[in-house]
């Protein structure tokens, strides 16, 4: 009881950083990097789902197009790997502006369907544009260089890429705990009221969408260089789905939960690497258990248990997990109808 929540929080971050530093010595380095970048992807999805209330089912568009852009830049342009990652991220941002502009006018399932439709369009463009993307062969043997350093070793590349991924994580934290993050959460909880206070809510949601897409793009770019491959699979709808599953497994609205989701899913995939047909069943089974038994997700449930012993703990968490008090104890205020 005497330990302050802030202390616990910093201890958590310190542990996570140490874990990230020693990860390639516990599991093989390619898998370690996959966890880092898929975790970032899931965090990007949660930024939108948990903090803006928008479920994107098309984030593979940003992950995949960034992977291709980074791969092409490194292969054809011969740029160093941080530049390739930057180019990939920028491409994701450029795509997110029109896609977001057209999607955020819809809510709930309609938003999910519109984002899915755009992602399918991107998928077909990548598939058909063979001269640039290599069609179903993808971009293979992507080189990774940095000022003449040899980054061909997976372990070396892990440590070279980790700072870039960490920038993404820190940025996600900054966004959620910024004045902008406050407005975003307010819009999620009650858009009508936010408009009545003078907030142009569409503009805020678009910025949130683009930020989320940029993080997905950052993750996708590093992923392509880590795998030395940009594959059509990266832009497929199942990739969007996997990121959403990781987010929900870890806990929607926890921000970091997606990393835990990524750990679970990717370890599962790794263990079942010789029996790929079981991967879907196993993931589905874990997903069903978590959703039915622990609806806050893994990290969400853990945080809930931790907090329920401390009723006086300040409410710092603004994610959707905390946004939904148990309906049995607290009546939910219905937002007034109206508006567009």
């Amino acid at each position: 009881m005497s330990v302050r929540p802030v202390t616990v929080r910093y201890a958590g971050y310190a542990l996570a950083l140490i874990a990230a530093l020693i990860l390639p010595h516990i599991i093989y380095p390619v898998l370690a990097l996959n966890i880092i970048v898929w975790g970032l992807f899931a965090v990007a999805v949660d930024l939108l789902l948990g903090f803006s209330g928008l479920l994107s089912f098309g984030h593979a568009a940003f992950w995949g197009s960034a992977a291709y852009a980074a791969g092409i830049a490194a292969t054809r342009g011969g740029v160093s790997f941080p530049v390739a990652v930057l180019i990939g991220t920028l491409v994701a941002i450029l795509l997110a502006i029109p896609i977001g502009y057209l999607s955020i006018r819809r809510q709930g399932i309609y938003f999910a369907m519109v984002t899915l439709a755009f992602a399918q369009m991107i998928y077909f463009v990548i598939n058909q544009w063979r001269s640039v993307t290599g069609g179903e062969n993808g971009i293979q043997g992507i080189p990774r260089t940095l000022l003449g350093l040899d980054l061909s070793s997976a372990t070396t590349f892990y440590y070279a890429a980790l700072p870039l991924a960490l920038i993404g994580y820190v940025f996600a934290f900054r966004v959620v705990h910024s004045p902008f993050g406050h407005v975003l959460v307010a819009i999620r909880d009650n858009e009508t009221r936010a408009r009545a206070l003078g907030y142009p809510t569409h503009r805020y949601k678009l910025i949130g969408f683009v930020i989320s897409a940029s993080l997905a793009g950052l993750g996708g770019s590093i992923y392509a260089l880590g795998q030395r491959l940009a594959d059509l699979e990266y832009a497929r709808w199942t990739t969007s789905g996997l990121a959403v599953i990781m987010t929900i497994l870890g806990g929607v609205g926890t921000l970091w939960g997606g990393v835990i989701g990524a750990v679970v899913v990717l370890l599962l995939r790794d263990w079942l690497t010789t029996r790929p047909e079981l991967f879907g069943v196993a993931t589905g089974g874990v997903f069903a258990v978590i959703v039915l038994g622990f609806r806050r997700g893994i990290l969400g449930t853990a945080l809930h248990w931790y907090r329920s012993g401390r009723p006086d703990a300040p409410i710092r968490r603004r994610g959707l997990a905390a946004a939904r008090p148990d309906p049995t104890t607290v009546p939910r205020v219905k937002p007034e109808k109206g508006g567009r």
């Binding site: 004045p179 959460v185 936010a194 142009p200 205020v333 219905k334 109206g338 508006g339």
Partner: protein, 248 residues
């Protein structure tokens, strides 16, 4: 011409005229009540004034500017602030954070995704002043889902006040309140009207008689009568509308 002038405002929902050809002039510095039986079109009119519903025809002029086609957020920025009939708050925020959010709205700080939320501390002092004004200073740090209804209504008022409005549009500020709370809200509206103009939709005739300088009575989407409270109260058409065709 008044601060707020409405000309021939009409809203048609698939052939049904919810509001039909309404003219209204709200003089600066007055409290103007909109009353009428259920279905008279008060809420539709209110939602058109605040940009939440687009009129089928007619014009809304605020301080000489045509605001008919503006979205709600633009109208709010022109210092026309509305409250909500059904308490409409943000589940995730504390009482204080609500007011900070309202104070922050007219700045562009809300776009700063690269800065720490700690910068919002600059609004704290002003937010506490506003909360003190509505009697909520003691519960500033409370989470909004855990406060009683009367205090939520007071917070609604605090949010409107934080926008420093020239025109307050209050949608049934006493809806569902206990008698004690009603008295408190009346006192509060009296206190905040200084230097401001108020449009009030209200069912409680006691509140209207206490506060309103002008009363517009609506019926079936049109203006039935307008005048001081005393004038409209004694108007036989108004009595008719409220009591039905009792002495027909």
């Amino acid at each position: 011409m008044g601060l707020l002038a409405v000309h021939g405002l009409t809203k048609e929902f698939r052939g049904f005229h919810a509001v039909h050809n309404v003219d209204l002039s709200v003089e600066e510095g007055t409290i103007h009540a909109l009353v009428g039986p259920n279905g008279a079109g008060k809420t539709t009119l209110f939602n058109m004034l605040t940009g939440f519903i687009k009129p089928t025809a007619g014009r809304i002029v605020f301080d000489g500017e045509d605001v008919t086609k503006l979205p709600p957020e633009q109208i709010a920025r022109r210092k026309m602030a509305r409250s909500f009939q059904i308490t409409s708050l943000f589940d995730q925020l504390t009482v204080l954070e609500h007011v900070v959010l309202a104070l922050q709205a007219e700045t562009h700080l809300g776009y700063r995704f690269w800065q720490s939320e700690k910068m919002l501390g600059r609004f704290r002092e002003r937010a506490l002043e506003i909360l003190a004004q509505v009697g909520l200073a003691e519960i500033a740090e409370r989470h909004v889902v855990s406060i009683p209804y009367g205090q939520k209504r007071a917070l609604e008022m605090a949010l409107v006040l934080a926008l420093e409005p020239r025109l307050l549009l209050l949608d049934e500020p006493t809806a569902g309140m206990s008698l004690d709370d009603v008295g408190r809200i009346i006192a509060l509206i009296r206190q905040v009207r200084a230097g401001r103009t108020v449009v009030l939709v209200e069912h409680n005739m006691g509140v209207v008689s206490e506060l309103a300088d002008r009363v517009t009575v609506l019926q079936r989407g049109g203006v039935l009568a307008e005048g001081t409270y005393g004038e409209v109260r004694d108007d036989p058409r108004v009595i008719d509308a409220y009591l039905g065709q009792t002495h027909a």
